[in-house]
């Protein structure tokens, strides 16, 4: 019969050949543990471990180079664990579990932890990066070209000490040169041709290649026009042209505040990640900060979403439930029909029925959106002879269409698992029932259905959880439409919770993006789905007791 506690069974199976018998027997036979036995198996293991270690060390080095210390630390831990586990004799169960554990951490636990972390930050539009990035942008953004100032063709020069400088020719033909420390000064014996300086005593003119080598220094170089900072400084963005720029902002590293160079206003960092002046003016770009439970409060306090939220929650439940029920019933019906040995060509029918399952969901949804177009869709235009039935634009019909399309997409899966489950029901049970005089309906109710539900129950629950978050179908088929006409939020009759989150947190571009809010709402949806799944699993456990 179906295995009620699969993990234990698998573990026991796995132990059987390795640990219990030969594992213990071998050392006794002349002390050849697999770690010391230089047989072909050990050599293969050694080669694979060498490969893994090489790969791991390469990743560690690469992570070191880019300064990704989190990845570096994680990789070192993984490498140590792998080597200990596979070269030790006492860690046999871990040898089987470790790869799975690593996957679990990399693709599940890390993602979940990161989502939870984001839910407590204000990551989103206006708070897109770190404070350092925000400072950098504010500084470059507030450095403006002095209006009406001259444009120069510039030569990048290197002083004998190695310091970089800029050399330009003024309108009157003077050659002027300066570095970051020394303001621009006129040199008598410099030469120039075509408006570009070609020679300055005490400096070498850098060639293109040498400039590119020190590109960062060149872009950061500011040569003051004079001792008076008000006049601005010469700066080049492309090492060909230079203009006079003046900064309006200055970052005070020691205090962590922005200071205006125009009027001396101090902008200090606020709690929600902006530079704010004492009278409340804030600089345009902020950074990511932890805001605590604020996102959860926003999620439940925005009045515009209160009413549509209830409707959407109910529809989400209805959609997920109806999707599971309809696909299961249709799949079951076909499974029973094609399970009858009297039917000829069963294999061909079965193959044909599985076809919708082989199609990518989003493609099928797009296809159906076209088929169901009010005027030009195949369904209306050809099948219904030009009837203009608003399949996707009438609130009720749109809901029916979505469930219908999901039925088309989903029944092959149910058909597959029901066929498998039906074929697994032992003949002797049905025979025994027949002998006991049970009728067809009685047999179905007392034997087939319960046994079927035992094996398909968990799959039905997972199907429910999947459809609860079936973003692709809704987004591709109706995009949540038709819109509610009586609410102020851009939400529609076929929106489910996950598409609502997508829209509310601006990921579709309709509002400022707010990854923090999106993560917070996703956690709420996760809690709903997890609760329902847990309750449902408890119910199926009761079913198992029928066995």
């Amino acid at each position: 019969m179906s295995t009620p506690h699969p993990p234990q069974v698998e573990a026991a199976d796995a132990m059987a050949p390795g640990d219990r018998t030969p594992g213990r027997a071998r050392p006794r036979r002349s002390g050849t543990s697999p770690a010391r036995d230089f047989g072909p198996g050990f050599l293969v293991k050694l080669a694979l471990m060498a490969l893994i270690n090489a790969l791991g060390v390469w990743i560690v080095l690469a992570a070191w180079n880019v300064g990704s210390y989190g990845i570096l630390a994680g990789m070192v831990v993984i490498l140590l664990a792998v080597n200990i586990v596979y070269f030790s004799r006492r860690t046999l169960p871990m040898k089987y579990i470790l790869p799975g554990l690593i996957f679990l951490f990399a693709f599940q636990i890390f993602v979940v932890v990161y989502t939870v972390f984001v839910a407590f930050t204000n990551y989103g539009d206006g708070h897109n990066s770190t404070k350092q990035d925000a400072v950098e942008f504010l500084l470059i953004d507030n450095e403006r070209r002095v209006e009406g100032s001259d444009a120069y063709q510039v030569s990048v020069v290197e002083q004998d000490g190695g310091a970089l400088g800029l050399a330009v020719v003024t309108g009157s033909g003077d050659v002027r040169v300066g570095t970051a420390e020394e303001p621009l000064r006129t040199v008598e014996d410099g030469t120039a041709s075509d408006g570009r300086v070609t020679e300055v005593p005490g400096f070498t003119i850098l060639e293109r290649g040498a400039i590119l080598e020190r590109a960062d220094e060149v872009t950061e170089l500011r040569v003051p026009l004079s001792e008076d900072p008000e006049e601005g400084s010469l700066r080049t963005q492309d090492a060909r042209n230079a203009y006079v720029f003046r900064s309006a902002l200055e970052y005070d590293e020691s205090e962590g505040v922005m200071r205006s160079l125009v009027d001396g206003t101090v902008y200090s960092p606020s709690e929600d990640g902006f530079f704010v002046s004492p009278d409340g003016e804030q600089l345009s770009v902020g950074w990511r900060v932890v805001v605590g439970a604020e996102n959860f409060v926003t999620a439940f306090s925005d009045q515009r979403y209160a009413e549509p939220f209830v409707k959407i929650l109910l529809w989400t439940f209805a959609f997920a439930f109806l999707s599971v029920v309809t696909t299961f019933l249709l799949g079951l019906f076909f499974a029973i029909t094609f399970n009858d040995p009297r039917l000829r060509g069963r294999k061909i029918y079965r193959t044909l029925l599985i076809l919708p399952y082989a199609m990518p969901g989003f493609l099928a949804a797009l296809l159906w959106a076209g088929l169901l177009n009010r005027r030009f869709g195949f369904v209306n235009a050809v099948l219904l002879n030009g009837a203009e039935i608003p399949w996707l634009t009438d609130p009720t019909l749109a809901k029916l269409s979505i469930i219908g399309v999901n039925l088309w997409l989903g029944f092959p899966y149910m058909f597959l698992i029901c066929t498998g489950a039906l074929q697994a029901i032992p003949e002797d049970l049905t025979e025994a029932a027949k002998i006991d005089g049970a009728g067809r309906i009685r047999m179905w109710r007392s034997i087939t259905l319960p046994l079927l539900l035992v094996s398909t129950g968990p799959l039905l629950i997972s199907s429910f959880a999947f459809n609860f978050n079936n973003f692709t179908l809704v987004y591709m088929l109706t995009q949540g439409g038709p819109r509610f006409t009586d609410t102020s939020a851009p939400l529609g009759h076929t929106d489910i919770l996950i598409t609502m989150i997508y829209s509310v947190s601006g990921l579709d571009g309709s509002a400022p993006r707010d990854y923090g809010l999106a993560s917070a709402l996703s956690i709420v949806v996760f809690i709903i789905v997890a609760t329902i799944s847990a309750l449902a699993f408890r119910r199926t456990r009761q079913l198992e007791e029928i066995n």
Binding site: Y96, F137, I140, Q237
Partner: protein, 417 residues
């Protein structure tokens, strides 16, 4: 020996796991390696790599300009082809991680969002600025700073099939009358779809005097809504009338409209230069969009250009490439020939205007208004089109009320943001 099989399996599993982890890190790991080699080779002058994001319609043209650039500076240009719709979100997400490109192609209306997130750097065009169309430069200007190098100006106009309608209509009513006189299934084709198309409808809205935002004197937009009021309701009422008369139809999507026009099913279609290649074999003329209200019908102008990342490690190369290699007539003409979008550089646009179609779009564009690039615009689109579609389809029975509701909803969304 029995033991080696599970061993091999497990070790293989671990190898796969690790290589999977490794695979995820590869983009990060790849960068230092190129840099390292760059540093080693630097004395030869063959230095840095410039990464540029382009979409498929611009790749060939940028490649040509990049070849000149590589030859002259010795730098390497790496083009990454991306889906145009993915560029903005990816740029916003990846620039802060240091994984973004040095330069990306983009539309001017992204500007507000890009600056609000600090991912784009200003560029100084210097004297080159004078060579560009005024509207193109203004579109990339915010608060006095230029943030992108414009390369193409595009706008919609009335595309006329000269075999079906000999003259350009002066007003909307004249256009509809001419379309009905032509005896084709559609008097005039305007794409809409079930969620509306406010971009295509905008010239009609402006003809009623209801622009989306209040404009400053210098052409920039303020976040103050202007699409409500009497002018707005007049437009809404007009939408309903045209919907009831069957001239506007929400079942007409872009594909439907283009195909119908290509089959000669209407003398007029409202659309942009991107449609033209679908209309091969038709005799076309480009006319101003006929006004439905009492004011001129002004479509939106979209300007395409190149942005420099605020976190670019090759800012010098990036600026050099844009200012000195992409702002040239040759480069702008190459982009024009690759994508068919009228160039933003006046000299190139003049050359391109030898083609009457391009000249026609350019003439209409001269009176057009730039699409707002302020971040508030995102909240408008979401309500705008759907409301228009609801009014046209009759789902919203009272057009004035629906329009006012929309304005209130947009205002609420702006206030909440």
């Amino acid at each position: 020996m029995r033991r080696s099989i599970p061993f091999v399996a497990v070790a293989l599993g671990a190898a796969l796991t690790l290589s999977a982890c490794g695979g995820a890190e590869e983009p990060e790991a790849a960068e230092p390696t190129t840099e390292e080699t760059a540093e080693e080779e630097a004395p030869e002058g063959d230095a840095e790599t410039l990464t540029i994001w382009v979409d498929e319609t611009r790749q060939a043209a940028v490649e040509a300009a990049a070849a000149d650039f590589e030859a002259e500076t010795g730098a390497t240009v790496e083009l990454v082809q991306k889906n145009f719709d993915d560029i903005r979100p990816d740029f916003l997400a990846q620039v802060p991680t240091g994984e973004g490109p040095d330069i990306t192609v983009g539309a001017h209306d992204w500007l507000g969002g890009l600056t609000a997130n600090g991912v784009v750097a200003p560029i100084e065009l210097g004297d080159a600025a004078e060579g560009f169309e005024q509207v193109a430069l203004e579109a990339f200007t915010q608060d006095g700073q230029v943030y992108g190098l414009p390369y193409a100006v595009e706008n919609i106009a009335l595309i006329r099939n000269t075999d079906l309608a000999a003259e350009a209509p002066a007003t909307w009513d004249a256009a509809v009358a001419a379309g009905q006189a032509a005896g084709t299934p559609y008097p005039i084709l305007i794409q809409m779809g079930e969620t509306g198309d406010p971009y295509t409808m905008y010239p009609f809205q402006t003809s009623f005097g209801a622009p989306v935002f209040v404009q400053n004197e210098d052409g920039s937009y303020t976040p103050e809504l202007a699409l409500g009021g009497e002018a707005g309701t007049a437009f809404a009422t007009w939408l309903q009338q045209q919907g009831a008369a069957g001239v506007l139809d929400t079942a007409v999507t872009y594909d439907v409209a283009v195909e119908a026009f290509a089959n000669g099913e209407s003398p007029f279609i409202i659309g942009g230069p991107w449609m033209i290649e679908s209309f091969e074999g038709l005799n076309l003329a480009i006319d101003p969009i006929p006004a439905a209200g009492s004011q001129p019908a002004q479509p939106f102008v979209g300007v395409a250009g190149f942005y420099v990342s605020a976190q670019s490690e090759n800012a010098l190369l990036a600026n050099d490439f844009l200012v000195n290699f992409m702002a040239t007539e040759d480069a702008q003409m190459a982009l024009y020939e690759a994508g068919g979008r009228p160039p933003a550089l006046i000299a190139a646009a003049d050359t391109a205007s030898a083609d009457p179609i391009t000249a026609g779009f350019r003439a209409v564009g001269a009176d057009a208004v730039p699409m707002p690039s302020i971040p508030e615009m995102g909240s408008v689109w979401e309500f705008w089109g759907v409301t228009e579609a609801q009014i046209v389809s009759g789902a919203a029975a009272d057009p004035a009320a629906a329009w006012e509701q929309m304005v209130a909803d947009i205002q609420a969304a702006l206030d909440a943001a």
